[in-house]
């Protein structure tokens, strides 16, 4: 599968990345490599094979509905690039 510049632009937009021209060239090449590797899988006949939903043979991992204390807010906000006393701050996202 051929990765076009438009595809890279679209993926960058969805990922909120702003690659420069040089990075775009690099990404195009890398993505093409990754996607063409998938062609290897297409060699196999997978008709009638159940899709794998998880790589480990485990299932039904659950916990009981019991409250434990939350995390100190100050700790949670520590890594935020932008914050005030009580909240994470993000660029304007609310309508209106």
């Amino acid at each position: 599968m051929k990765i076009t510049e438009e595809m890279v632009d679209y993926i960058a937009l969805l990922s909120r990345l702003k690659p420069d021209a040089e990075e775009k060239v690099q990404m195009t090449a890398e993505l093409e490599k990754i996607v063409s590797y998938m062609d290897v899988l297409n060699i196999l006949d997978t008709d009638g094979v159940e899709p794998l939903s998880h790589v480990f043979p485990i299932r039904n991992v659950m916990r009981s509905d019991e409250v434990s204390s939350s995390f100190p807010r100050e700790e949670l906000l520590k890594n935020a690039p932008s914050r005030d006393d009580e909240a994470f701050l993000a660029p304007k996202a609310v309508e209106g």
């Binding site: 939903s53 998880h54 009981s64 807010r73 949670l76 005030d84 909240a87 309508e95």
Partner: protein, 477 residues
Amino acid sequence: MTWETVIGLETHVELATKTKIFCSCTTEFGGAPNTHCCPVCTGMPGTLPVLNEKVLEFAVKAGIALNGEITRHCKFDRKNYFYPDLPKAYQVSQLYLPIVRNGKVPIRTESGTEKVIRIHELHMEEDAGKLVHDPWLDQTKCDYNRCGVPLIEIVTEPDFRTSKEVIAYLEKLKSTLQYLGVSDCKMQEGSLRCDVNLSVRPAGSTQLGTRTEMKNLSSFKAIARAIAYESRRQIELIEEGKKVLQETRRWDENKDATFAMRSKEDAQDYRYFPEPDIPPLVISAEYLDDVRRRQPEMAEEKMVRYQQEYDLPVYDAQMLTEQKALADFFESCVTLGAEAKQSANWIMGQVLGQLSAKAMEAKNMKLTPSTLVTLISMVKEGRLNRNTAVKVFEDVFDTDEDVEEYVKVHGLAQINDPTALAAAVEKVFAANSQSVTDYRSGKEKAYGFLVGQVMREMKGRADPQAVNEAVRDKLSG
């Protein structure tokens, strides 16, 4: 041309679990911003979410009650989008193998016939955080307390044709979920939210028109108005030769109109993929049987039982079972010894009357069954006349005061003293000789007047039956 409106609903319901879907933070409503959070629900790298077993149980319970098929091998998927209400930049949801498919919800239409609304699917997912724009900073404040609160999303087929059908379905859904105890369904707190997909087409056509999705509908009233507005808007567009655009529109309660929302920068491409952090769920036959066995008695079953066990008319049985809290109230009254039909009459008349006058739901009412039962027995024992009892009921409805005490303090007990009654009759007849003459000359109306006067003389506290008899005796005597 006649147009037909076609509507499908996506309803998000917050589950009444104590903790969030993938971590042990509380789901309690409110709380200072970001105080019900931990590294899991704020999406810190390296954390491992673990499913709350109650979420699965509640989803299965709801699925069974909505007559759906439970997906025995089910899993979660990631829905990717960048928006600050989701700190992980994806929502854990279910796309490929939702827990429930092909449900059916019977509703009663306006004409009284039954209509079945098909449920396309019901899936489990996590709620997002709350964003508040700060005009001073010109930035958006993110409160992640709601992040990770468990939701079920119930998606119907486009089976509705009118807003009345939509409301009937939502009432039914709400009642069912409340009976199950899986959600409190409080619209004002956002624990029941509804998006409306709507399109129009020429009546008789079998093809669907282009639909819009409406959000921000915070009450049944808003839903009905938004449906009316949006179908009119679409019909006008088409009649003007214009096209309906497939878009998300926001209902503005104050402007009474819908507005196109700025698209999330054309990112309707969610790039779903299987959630690798959460192992798949395999639901055994034993598990299903166990949940089935523990399903509570639902409204339909109660309706049948009330008719058989208490000999109530269909109408009463239906009214009493519409809200679980009301049915519980009724059953408590009967358990406390009140006669079933008496209790039903009081509940349908006075209780529902007060609730509707105060725009309240039965589950928020303060009045206890024992108060009503006391009142009923006081009437039955002739210690309170019925009209006074209704007044007392209204007075104690908000406070649940001790009615015996209330009646004593306010001097409202029924006067059963025949001498006092005879004296009152004497007095009224003496003062209203004209009415007595009128009655005897055939004016029936005078009788009612005399009864009213005697009751007034007794300060409203006499037994109406006794007053009637005393007046009649006196007139014929």
